[in-house]
Every structure is written in structure tokens, then in C-alpha cells.
């Protein structure tokens, strides 16, 4: 419905464009820029809402109200926070590596924006349905680690460095089970394109065929986005704030934004791969997608406000000795079933 409307708009603009005699390439470029802006706005809005939701959910988990003062039931709290963060002084430590330190918060945002390109928000609401969608997502999300390494190293602070090291070792070990858990879905769907995977779930969600894969994905994804109980890189009680110890103001906000955006993205991918994406009866497709993503986000929040934190070596053990073997078994069984 929405996609149809957008498409008809685009068609008419296109026709007018051709009539004017300007090469279509320029239209494509303008379209790409506009889409980028739209996606950026989506990210920012989603993160603002997510911070509010997180605080409210946390509040109710802890039998308190959460933010209540700014606006009705604290609805304007995220905006107040954003204003606060913008106003903060931007501090760069004297002995920090200035350029790397400054660049890191922007690099961390690159994968966020790039991943959004292949996510189907609704029926035909997808920017570019790459036929290597999932591979693309995992490839691009690896860049986030580089940003964290940059930030941790350039801060010239031992806590930051420890946080960065933890982050890297964690992501390296959880990337494998994550990819393996998703491969089961790829085998079932017979395609790596995100749109194709959603189409393949028209009859039944993949969570039914891949319960183990879903669980592994959930754990590994939680670890990938550094949420409790895997939030070691920024475990404030242990290493102050990990890689973003020295960051303040907008630079910190960028890290923060990227972290929440990553959480959102991980939930969206989970909803797409295992929960049937945007498909659902009655309601418009983006709403269904949002509901499923919300459910995933809620699970992550639930984790955070219930569990203590793992220790580094326990985390590694869990990744390599539990998740990885199970992911292999899952993959093997799926492949055998599909062949037979």
C-alpha cells in the first residue's frame, strides 16, 4: 500500500524528469541522497524512542515509574537528554590521538547506516534488496569493531584500552555462532536476499523450523551489540565505561546512538529472519514489522534488567564451547533435512 504509493510518486517524478531531458542518473543520485537522509532520520527517531522505552521498561521492571517529569509520562525525556548531550563540552584528552579519537564516533555509524539499506521494513519497502543481503550485513557490521578499537586505543586510557580489547575478543568469538545460526535460515530459504527470506516465510515462520538457530542468534546478537549479560566492553563497575570512558558530549552521543541503533538493527534482522518479517494479517506490513522488532527489543531489554554480567573468560567459554558447537549441529541437521 505504502510502497505502491511511493512507487507511483516516483514514477510520476521519473516521467517528468525524462520529459525534461535530464539524464536519469542524476535522479538516481538525488534519490540515494534522499533515502540516506530518510534512513538517518529513522535511526535517530528510533533511538530516541528506544531510549525512552528502555527507561520506562526498566522502571517498571524495578517497580518504579521511570521518567515522569518532562512531558506527559516523561515522553519528552529523550529530547531533553539529546539537548543536554549537545550542550556538553566536547573534551579531547591531551594525550589522545586527536584524529583517530575524533573519527571513531563517525566510523561507528557507518555500519549502522549501511545495514539499514537491505532491511525490508514492509511489503516492498526496502531500499535495495541485495541478493547477498545477509552476507552484506555481516560484512558491514564488522566495521563497528574497528571504530571501537579506534576509540579505545586513541583515548590513551587504560580502561578504554581494556574495553576495546574485550570488545574485539568478544565480537570475534560471537561473530562465528551468529553467522552459523543464520546459515540455517539461508539453507531453508534458498537465498541470501532479505526480501527473499521474508517471502520464503509466507507459510510458516522460520523460528518454528529453527528454534535452536533462533536461540543461538539471540545470544550471539546480544553479545554483538554489547548488551547485558555480555556488556563487558563497557562494564562500568569493572572498567569504568570501557572504550567510551573518555568520550563526552556529541561524540559520546554518537557512540550511544550507534549502540542503540545496533540493538534495533539486530532486532530487525532477527524479526526478518525468524519471525516472518513484515508479514501478518490485517495490519499494514510496516506495523507488523515494528511489532515483531519491538518484541525482539523487549527481549533484549528483559535480559538487561534481569541478568548479572558474565566474566571475560566465562563469556569466551560460552561462545566457543557452547554456542559454536550447537550452531554447527544446527547447521548440519538443517542441511541434512533439506537434502533428504
Amino acid at each position: 500500500m505504502i510502497a505502491g504509493w511511493i512507487n507511483s510518486c516516483y514514477e510520476s517524478i521519473r516521467n517528468w524528469w525524462v520529459a525534461c531531458g535530464i539524464p536519469l542518473v542524476w535522479l538516481d543520485i538525488i534519490r540515494a541522497i534522499l533515502l540516506g537522509i530518510v534512513l538517518a532520520i529513522i535511526v535517530v527517531v528510533a533511538v530516541l524512542i528506544l531510549t525512552y522505552v528502555e527507561r520506562k521498561v526498566a522502571g517498571h521492571f524495578q517497580s518504579r515509574m521511570g521518567p515522569m517529569r518532562v512531558g506527559w509520562h516523561g515522553l519528552l525525556q529523550p529530547i531533553a537528554d539529546a539537548i543536554k548531550l549537545i550542550q556538553k563540552e566536547d573534551i579531547v584528552p591531551e594525550k589522545a590521538d586527536y584524529w583517530v579519537f575524533t573519527l571513531a564516533p563517525f566510523v561507528v555509524f557507518v555500519p549502522v547506516m549501511m545495514v539499514l539499506v537491505v532491511i525490508p521494513f514492509g511489503d516492498h519497502l526496502i531500499v535495495q534488496d541485495l541478493n547477498i543481503g545477509i552476507l552484506y550485513i555481516f560484512a558491514v557490521s564488522g566495521i563497528g569493531v574497528v571504530a571501537i578499537l579506534m576509540g579505545g586505543w586513541a583515548s590513551n586510557n587504560k580502561w578504554s584500552l581494556l574495553g576495546a580489547m574485550r570488545s574485539v575478543s568478544q565480537m570475534v568469538s560471537y561473530e562465528l555462532p551468529l553467522i552459523l545460526s543464520v546459515l540455517g535460515v539461508v539453507i531453508l530459504a534458498g537465498t541470501m536476499s532479505m526480501g527473499g527470506i521474508v517471502e520464503a516465510q509466507r507459510k510458516m515462520w522460520f523460528i518454528v523450523y529453527q528454534p535452536l538457530g533462533f536461540i543461538i542468534y539471540l545470544f550471539a546478537a546480544t553479545a554483538e551489540v554489547n548488551r547485558v549479560p555480555f556488556d563487558l566492553p563497557e562494564a562500568e563497575q569493572e572498567i569504568v565505561a570501557g572504550y567510551n570512558t573518555e568520550y563526552s558530549g556529541m561524540k559520546f552521543a554518537m557512540f550511544y546512538l550507534a549502540e542503540y541503533a545496533n540493538m534495533f538493527i539486530v532486532s530487525m534482522i532477527g524479526a526478518t529472519l525468524f519471525l516472518g518479517g513484515w508479514q501478518g494479517p490485517l495490519l499494514p506490513s510496516p506495523v507488523w514489522f515494528l511489532i515483531k522488532t519491538g518484541a525482539m527489543v523487549f527481549i533484549l531489554l528483559w535480559f538487561r534488567w534481569t541478568f548479572p554480567r558474565f566474566r571475560v573468560d566465562q563469556l569466551m567459554d560460552f561462545g566457543w564451547k557452547v554456542l559454536l558447537p550447537f550452531a554447527f549441529i544446527n547447521l548440519l541437521v538443517t542441511a541434512l533435512v533439506v537434502i533428504i
Binding site: V100, L135, V146, K158
Partner: protein, 210 residues
């Protein structure tokens, strides 16, 4: 100016831009004094190479390039730098010595590369059709049929490397006599004995309970 020309010009611009980034950052990798930054430029070079693959419509290769070179190898290099270099030194220097030797080796390598590339017979890549839809499928099929032998050879090589790594790691341990955890635990026990006072009154633990 027709649309087609513009497109061609644009793709040329993109190509030269990416090539410029690749070449420029490659040069920076070997000239920069700060080893961490030069490693970052290495990553940039890898990334730009992936961009070049995309201009050739080889999306799969591009994704694999980013996944393996940027996500795995590059990060590993950065990690190694952080671990081995003096911890907490923002201006860790890379030492680019023996320039002449390096240049000679590079030149020789280039020469042999050209020589080999000129001589070698590459089997023509079978036509898979112009569509990029089935590119992943196509690559997979190719690897398991036409290029099965090279693929298996590479696999064996990788397995060998893996086993080698494990063996080397085990050797380290064997040289130390025991893994770090065990050593630490043992040492803790030693300390317990030396640090604690001998229990003078000869009481058993149970006697102390009232």
C-alpha cells in the same frame, strides 16, 4: 550530453576515486610513522578495494572482501598492535628501515607476477549468464564442480594452518610447563602457605565452632 555518457563518466569518476583511495592509503600504510594509523589506512585500502569490486558488479566478492579483510584480518592486525606494542603509547612508531631492500623485493615480486600472469593459462570462466541474481549460487556451484581440486587444496592448506597454529600454541604452553591458569592457581596456593601464619594452637577447623 546523453544519459549513457553521463553514466560512463560517473562510473569513471567513481573508479578513479576508489583507485586513488586504494593507492593513497596504501602509500600511507608504509610511510606513516604511527603504526596504529597505518594499520587503519590498511583497512581503508581493503575497504576501497571492496568498492572497486562493486563497480565490477561482483557484490559477493566485495562482501567477502569486507568480511574477511576488514572484519577479520584488519581487526586482528589492530589487536596485535595493541597487544604487542608498549601498552598505552599513542605514538607507537613503525620502523621503516632498509628501504632499498624493500624496493628491490617489491620490484622482483612485481616482475615475477607480470611474468607469471603473462605465461599462465587460465581456464576461461564458464558463462553463467549476465544476470547477477545467481552469482552466489554460481560461485558455489563452480567451487564444488569445476574448481573442486583447487578448492580442496586450499581447504587442506587452511586445515594445515589451523593445526599448525594449535600446535604452536600448545608448544608455548609446554615450554611454560603448564597453562597460565594452572600456574596462577599453583602460585596462589604457594603464597597461601608462605603468607599465612602456621596455625599455632593446632586446632582443627571443627574445634573452633562453638
Amino acid at each position: 550530453m546523453t544519459g549513457l555518457e553521463t553514466e560512463e563518466i560517473l562510473s569513471a569518476i567513481v573508479f578513479y576515486l576508489l583507485s586513488g583511495v586504494v593507492v593513497g592509503s596504501s602509500i600511507l600504510v608504509i610511510t606513516l610513522r604511527n603504526i596504529f594509523r597505518s594499520a587503519l589506512f590498511l583497512l581503508l585500502a581493503f575497504f576501497a578495494t571492496a568498492g572497486l569490486f562493486i563497480t565490477l558488479d561482483a557484490e559477493f566478492i566485495a562482501a567477502v572482501q569486507v568480511l574477511i579483510y576488514v572484519g577479520a584480518i584488519g581487526v586482528l592486525i589492530l589487536f596485535a598492535i595493541m597487544l604487542t606494542r608498549r601498552i598505552q603509547d599513542p605514538v607507537a612508531k613503525s620502523t621503516t628501515r632498509s628501504f632499498i631492500l624493500g624496493a628491490f623485493v617489491s620490484a622482483a615480486f612485481l616482475f615475477f607476477l607480470i611474468l607469471i600472469l603473462g605465461k599462465i593459462y587460465l581456464p576461461p570462466f564458464p558463462e553463467t549468464g549476465a544476470d547477477t541474481e545467481g552469482i552466489t549460487k554460481g560461485i558455489g556451484r563452480m567451487l564444488l564442480t569445476y574448481y573442486l581440486l583447487p578448492f580442496e587444496v586450499v581447504s587442506v592448506l587452511l586445515v594445515g594452518a589451523l593445526i599448525g597454529a594449535v600446535v604452536i600454541a600448545r608448544k608455548e604452553e609446554a615450554r611454560g610447563g603448564e597453562p597460565p591458569e594452572v600456574a596462577l592457581e599453583r602460585e596462589r596456593k604457594d603464597r597461601e602457605i608462605t603468607d599465612s601464619k602456621p596455625d599455632g594452637n593446632g586446632l582443627e577447623q571443627n574445634d573452633r565452632k562453638h
